[in-house]
């Protein structure tokens, strides 16, 4: 089982490595992070914060692109092009196929996030080397090479995995356009999810309140994964908070993959 899942995952990764579009995307993100150095030059005093801000935002945006655009094709493309016929008659169970696809994209995202994080740290290191004085100025609330940025990257990664599981879920039964639209929609809604929990406070009807509550549990809650602001301003993000948020993410991913398997299991490939 592990070998089969591993092979499927490895080939998702291999495909992404050979994909020129992905390279361009990552290259662009790295350039953007590098470019934040120039923006930092323009705004005296705020440079470090702006660089961190832009770096994290760029990583988040490009990570999202990768998760959605590769994610919605993961299963759909194989079914549409019928390459799945060759795979699923081999000793590959359908749930192993789904799990392998997910883990493959998870690996791709991990490498990409790591590259973008490294690019951000490289720009920051360059800054503090070129102009040591700003390091001291801003260092009061957060050091230039703040290791706590890694927590923001870690939670960002967890968030992208949730998005990936959603994209993959849609791709087991819908075309890429529809899947991408739904996934982006859920991504946006997921950031305002917290409001749904308190929907009953704003509306009169109890039914609407219940609906809000139901949606709150059903839709992904993505806002807690976003600790960019805290990281930039050097505020502490407790480890427990990170662990709980990651745990929630894991549960949500497990539920999404389980649903994907249930749908995929009984599907006719025609």
């Amino acid at each position: 089982m592990a070998r089969v899942v591993g092979l499927v995952a490895y080939h998702v990764f291999k495909e992404s490595v050979r994909d020129k579009v992905l390279y361009n995307l990552v290259l662009f993100a790295v350039l953007l992070i590098g470019g934040s150095y120039l923006v930092g030059q323009l705004t005296a005093g705020q440079d470090i914060k702006i660089i961190k801000d832009l770096g994290l935002a760029a990583s988040s945006l490009f990570g999202l692109f990768i998760a959605v655009f590769i994610g919605v094709g993961l299963v759909w493309k194989e079914v549409d092009r019928r390459s799945v016929y060759n795979l699923l008659v081999k000793p590959v169970r359908r749930h192993e196929f789904i799990l392998g696809k997910f883990l493959g994209l998870a690996l791709t995202l991990l490498v990409n996030i790591a590259v973008m994080a490294a690019a951000l740290y490289a720009v920051l290191a360059l800054m503090s080397w070129l102009r040591p004085e700003i390091g001291r100025a801003g260092g009061v609330e957060a050091p230039v090479l703040d290791p706590r940025l890694l927590k923001a990257f870690g939670l960002l990664y967890a968030q992208l995995l949730v998005v990936t599981s959603v994209a993959l879920f849609f791709s087991t039964f819908a075309g890429p356009l529809m899947s991408a639209a739904f996934t982006f929609g859920l991504y946006v809604v997921g950031h305002f999810n917290e409001d749904l929990a308190h929907f009953e406070d704003v509306v009169q009807s109890p039914a609407a309140g219940w609906l809000g509550k139901a949606l709150y549990y059903l839709l992904p809650n993505l806002a807690p994964f976003d600790v960019k602001l805290a990281a930039v301003h050097g505020r502490e993000v407790p480890n427990l908070y990170c662990a709980l948020t990651a745990g929630y993410g894991l549960l949500y991913i497990a539920a999404m993959l389980a649903l994907a398997v249930v749908i995929f299991q009984r599907r006719d490939f025609k």
Binding site: V4, H11, K14, R18, R81, R82, S83, V89, D268, K270
Partner: protein, 322 residues
């Protein structure tokens, strides 16, 4: 031992956008294939051949009916381990080469390192892919993809293979290669079930065939039985004859065609004993050039079977009201 058995296998597809209604692509197929047999699944376009093979590989699920492959239900781990499948017009990943693809699939069967490389190389040689094995599959021609498809179906040295139109897209040399591969599989004791439109291939390879028309099995049996039933007479070619000699045979001659230089091609009806005719003609100075049974080809038989059903069950199959 039966390698494959289906019992009243039926598949309905849902068609129509607004009003989904079932369309019966396969209707009560009951089939038995012995281990070691080469079985040909024949039928016109849309007969349900691909549907049948996909059901057997559990790529689609039956509406009703039962399947046993090597004594197991389809999709059973044992079936996955011991069976091979070549889909119709196979497609693979653009980003891999033939070699990488086979290596990937060999890994799924648990082959490792040296054994894996050796198996992959041997199969690529077998299906006649040389230097192109390092070429991205996106740049491969149709016939090459077909060969790669055949190679990947044989990676696990299967006991049973299902080939959906293995000859399609191949040049004459390729078809000859595939015929040789199928015969090699048979000699190894592997059961082969394949669908085809190319009846001469079926005739050359199969021990038994089944003919599907409009989702129904209209004929199944040994080729020799099907076609022996259809022996249509004898064709005799003799030299050194004249009109008078021919006349002596009288009404037994169905047709006599002069070939020039005193040679005649003579058609005798199937009931006749050709030895008798040959002896009679020899006595009048004729020399035997050749004597051949005139068999109906599988094609004649096939066309007759299909035409008999035209406008019958094939036309506008909808599922009967229950």
């Amino acid at each position: 031992m039966l390698a494959l058995e289906t019992d009243r296998l039926t598949k309905d597809y849902a068609v129509g956008f607004w009003r989904r209604r079932p369309y019966r692509a396969l209707d009560g197929l009951s089939l038995q294939v012995e281990a070691g047999e080469v079985f040909g699944l024949l039928g016109p376009n849309g007969a349900g051949k691909t549907t049948t093979l996909k059901l057997l590989m559990e790529l689609i699920y039956p509406t009703s009916g039962r399947i046993a492959i090597l004594g197991h239900p389809p999709g059973h781990p044992e079936v996955r381990r011991r069976a091979g499948f070549l889909p119709e017009a196979p497609y693979f990943y653009d980003y891999l080469t033939a070699e990488e693809l086979l290596s990937y699939f060999a890994g799924l069967f648990g082959l490792r390192d040296g054994a894996r490389r050796a198996r992959v190389a041997a199969l690529l040689d077998l299906v006649g892919i040389g230097g192109e094995r390092r070429l991205a599959l996106r740049k491969c021609s149709k016939g090459m993809l077909q060969r790669v498809g055949l190679a990947q179906a044989l990676l696990n040295e299967p006991d049973l293979v299902f080939l959906d139109e293995p000859m399609s897209g191949l040049d004459p040399l390729g078809r000859r290669d595939v015929r040789a591969i199928v015969l090699g599989l048979r000699d190894r004791g592997c059961t082969v079930v394949f669908s085809s439109h190319i009846l001469s291939d079926a005739e050359a390879l199969c021990s038994r065939v089944g003919i599907l028309v409009g989702g129904r099995l209209v004929a199944a049996g040994r080729l020799s039985d099907m076609l022996a039933f259809e022996v249509e007479g004898w064709e005799l070619v003799m030299a050194g004859l004249d009109e008078a000699a021919l006349g002596a045979l009288g009404s037994r001659v169905r047709r006599a065609t002069p070939l020039g230089g005193g040679r005649y091609a003579i058609e005798l009806p199937p009931v006749d004993d050709p030895d008798c005719a040959v002896a009679g003609l020899r006595a009048r100075g004729g020399r035997l050039v050749s004597l051949n049974p005139m068999r109906a080809t599988l094609e004649d038989y096939f066309v007759r079977q299909v035409e008999a059903r035209a406008g019958g069950p094939a036309a506008g199959r909808t599922v009967p009201e229950r």
